[in-house]
């Protein structure tokens, strides 16, 4: 009989990066890399666990923007083209490295992996990644939860009427469209909570959400079991808190598993290491050097000197780290179970893209953890929903405002680099809200224009843009995306006000920013 449970939650999200106006667009590679390195390996992992009849419970948050991109025919076709090139490059690399045993085995590993990815994507799942994850949900291996429609940073959108509601309701509607029922869990973008947000979640039937450790530790009244049991808001929605110990073991690049010297190095890539003329066909048309995904070195140490990657040794380390992780949870549960009058739940949330993309061995480690949990006896894998089903009596308390960002509050998304965006985001939301109220039952063209304006507003609200500005990463792109979507929303509002909607321009926008096809502006009313 299990004395406690471990809830592994992966949050899969990318902002909407779809640029039909260009044949080859750099930022779309974020999606392609994540599919190859994270999402397909996760599907392969689930398949492997299922084949071996390993009882598996994992929670996966799939953001609505990611779902939209998974479902998009253009991005699917482009991904396939990208993957084909990757397989081709791996084939060339397999040939080039013959005679160099250390690198050849790594090149051969990539060729095998990419060829398998291609088969999984094209043959096993017919390019339908949503269908793939849905199948595993229906067969009970995973619980899929949702997230803000475009990952809007909700505590800073709350000042205009309808803005938070739209992020929540559109997310729930998209979930229903793809999975045939309502979502039970909601991953708050950036785990950003403010008291009262749960009321919006309750409106769409959400059972639980997740906050960082201090969201529970500083909840009011003070929770008696800390983060090791959920609490319930007055709205009836439960909140689970992140376990700090397991978090550090995986998140910390210094102390955590991913920094192990035998693991593959993320930064060395043949896109930079090999002759430009050789890798050029796999780079953007500009010839700009980029990561290709073929990386031959292990972390080795803190210096720039890197040794060749050894997949067997890396696997051994992943085995050891999985054992260590499960043992640490077992010890935690043992200690906690004695101190509590309900079985503790250890909540371990991570960015999905950590696994495979940043931490190459991450999916393998995760699979090994799930296999060990299946036989651990006193500690089992569970989802937050499972925990509420088994233990529905929960302490009443409201989490405190918190995020999982640097310093635990809003500072990453509200700083000197990005604070200018809120004036414009709020003005656009307010204007659109007023217009929607003015046209509660608009004619077809006005309806389309207002709906597209809302789509543009939602896209401008993505927390990713503020994050990039604050982190000084692809700032130019983040600024452009924020500005472009806001300007598009503004223009549409102008046209509606003047009763002069430009049909042709509207049609082009609808085709370009084609997210949320069933969206209706009246969600703002």
């Amino acid at each position: 009989m299990a004395r406690g449970s471990v809830a592994l939650l992966l949050h899969a999200h990318l902002p909407f990066v779809r640029h039909p106006e260009h044949e080859d667009f750099l930022e779309e590679r974020w999606l392609y890399e994540a599919i190859t390195e994270t999402y397909l390996p996760l599907l392969e992992m689930l398949d492997s666990l299922e084949r071996d009849h390993v009882p598996t419970r994992l929670t996966l948050s799939l953001s609505p923007t990611l779902l939209g991109m998974f479902a998009d025919p253009l991005l699917r076709a482009r991904y396939l083209r990208h993957l084909d090139r990757l397989v081709e490059l791996a084939e060339k690399e397999e040939r080039r490295t013959r005679g160099d045993s250390a690198f050849h085995r790594v090149a051969a590993m990539y060729l095998t992996r990419f060829s398998r990815s291609r088969a999984v994507f094209l043959t096993d799942w017919q390019q339908d990644l949503i269908g793939a994850f849905r199948a595993f949900q229906e067969r009970g291996l995973i619980d899929i939860i949702t997230c803000g429609a475009t990952h809007g940073f909700l505590p800073l959108l709350d000042v205009t009427p309808g803005a938070v509601r739209a992020q929540v309701e559109v997310a729930a509607a998209e979930y229903r469209r793809f999975f045939g029922r309502g979502p039970e869990g909601f991953w708050l973008p950036e785990c950003a909570y403010y008291p009262g947000l749960d009321v919006e979640l309750a409106r769409v039937g959400i059972r639980y959400f997740l906050v960082d450790t201090h969201g529970i530790a500083h909840a009011s009244p003070r929770p008696v079991y800390g983060v090791y049991a959920p609490i319930a808001c007055e709205s009836g929605v439960a909140a689970f808190g992140r376990d700090p110990d397991s978090s550090k073991q995986v998140w910390s690049a210094e102390e955590g598993y991913p920094g192990d010297f035998w693991y593959r190095d993320f930064y060395r890539d043949i896109g930079f290491d090999l002759e430009l003329s050789y890798v050029r066909p796999y780079l953007p048309p500009t010839g700009q050097r980029l990561h290709t995904g073929l990386k031959y070195h292990r972390i080795t140490g803190k210096s720039d000197h890197k040794e060749p990657y050894d997949p067997d040794r890396a696997r051994e380390r992943a085995e050891a780290h999985a054992g260590d992780f499960v043992e640490a949870r077992r010890r935690q549960v043992e200690w906690l179970a004695d101190a509590m009058d309900r079985p503790p739940i250890i909540v371990c949330p991570y960015d999905a893209e950590l696994f495979g993309h940043w931490w190459f061995e991450g999916p393998l480690w995760l699979e090994l953890v799930l296999r060990r949990l299946a036989t651990a006896g006193d500690v089992v894998a569970a989802t937050p929903g499972d925990d509420l089903d088994r233990h529905p009596t929960v302490q009443l308390a409201t989490p405190s405002g918190s995020t999982w960002g640097w310093k635990g509050y809003n500072e990453v998304w509200l700083a000197g680099e990005n604070d200018w965006i809120y004036r414009h985001l709020h003005a656009a939301a307010e204007r659109l809200h007023a217009l929607c109220r003015r046209y509660p039952s608009a004619d077809e063209r006005t309806r389309r224009a207002l709906t597209q304006a809302l789509r543009e507003l939602l896209l401008a609200q993505a927390s990713d843009w503020a994050f990039m500005m604050s982190r000084h990463t692809t700032v130019e792109y983040a600024v452009r995306r924020t500005r472009d979507h806001l300007l598009r929303a503004e223009r549409l509002c102008d046209e509606v006000e003047r009763d002069a909607v430009d049909d042709l321009a509207l049609g082009t926008l609808e085709e370009t920013d084609n997210l949320f096809p069933t969206l209706d502006y009246r969600v703002l009313l």
Binding site: G226, R289, L396
Partner: protein
Amino acid sequence: MTVGDALAAGLGTIGGWIGCAQGAARRVGEVVDGLLNVAIRQDPVPAPPSPRSTPSGGTQAEIEEAKFYLGPRPSPPSPERSPGELPRAYGHDRIVLLPRDPWWAFAYWEVTPMTRLRALRVLGAEGEGAREVLRVYDVSFITFTGDNAWLSFDVEVTPGTDHFYLNLARPAASYLAEIGLRTPGGRFLPLARSNTVTLPRPEPSPDTTVRWVRLGRHAPPTGTVAGWDGERLPTPPGPGDGSADPWSGATRSSETHTPLRSSR
């Protein structure tokens, strides 16, 4: 009545409303720590470290960033922070407060030239030398009526500024702010009033009440039960190694505390 309503209704109404606000300011002024106000006005105290001046975010942020990393770019990312062709102003009087953390809030505002002009007309000769100030009210647990705040303080802002980081003294408290003109004689004429923000709590709650509820799958929670005789688990540390305010020695806001202001 909002400031916007008042302005629309005409100057006569404004006058009445201002009188009311002045009363409020006088009353709440009595409980304000006078020294703090002096510190704000004269700004004689060395500034604490800027809340944020370099990109930093710890390892989790670095890992999150990796999903947007396609290799080192040939040129450094553009430092551009400007909104480009976005409107420089929206033509509405407005001030908005946003919570940043338990100690800081961000305010941005817009006051239209017409409103400014009207305000100066109202002030007449008194308006000579009037300064633009943010008047910040602690409105914890109350519905603010203009004269019932627990306390208030003023922050003088540089003419032409349209945003400011406010260092607020009490975490978990609720604040609202007005942007307005303060005359040398001490009269305050508000031009716009903000929303209310409640800052997060940086430490465990003093409320140790224990109540239980049964959560239904598709039903409202039922059967609230009070009481518990178990033993509390120790509270884990807050973010960033404890819950201490890193700028606890700071004075209230001043221009020098404003992190990396964008220039537009």
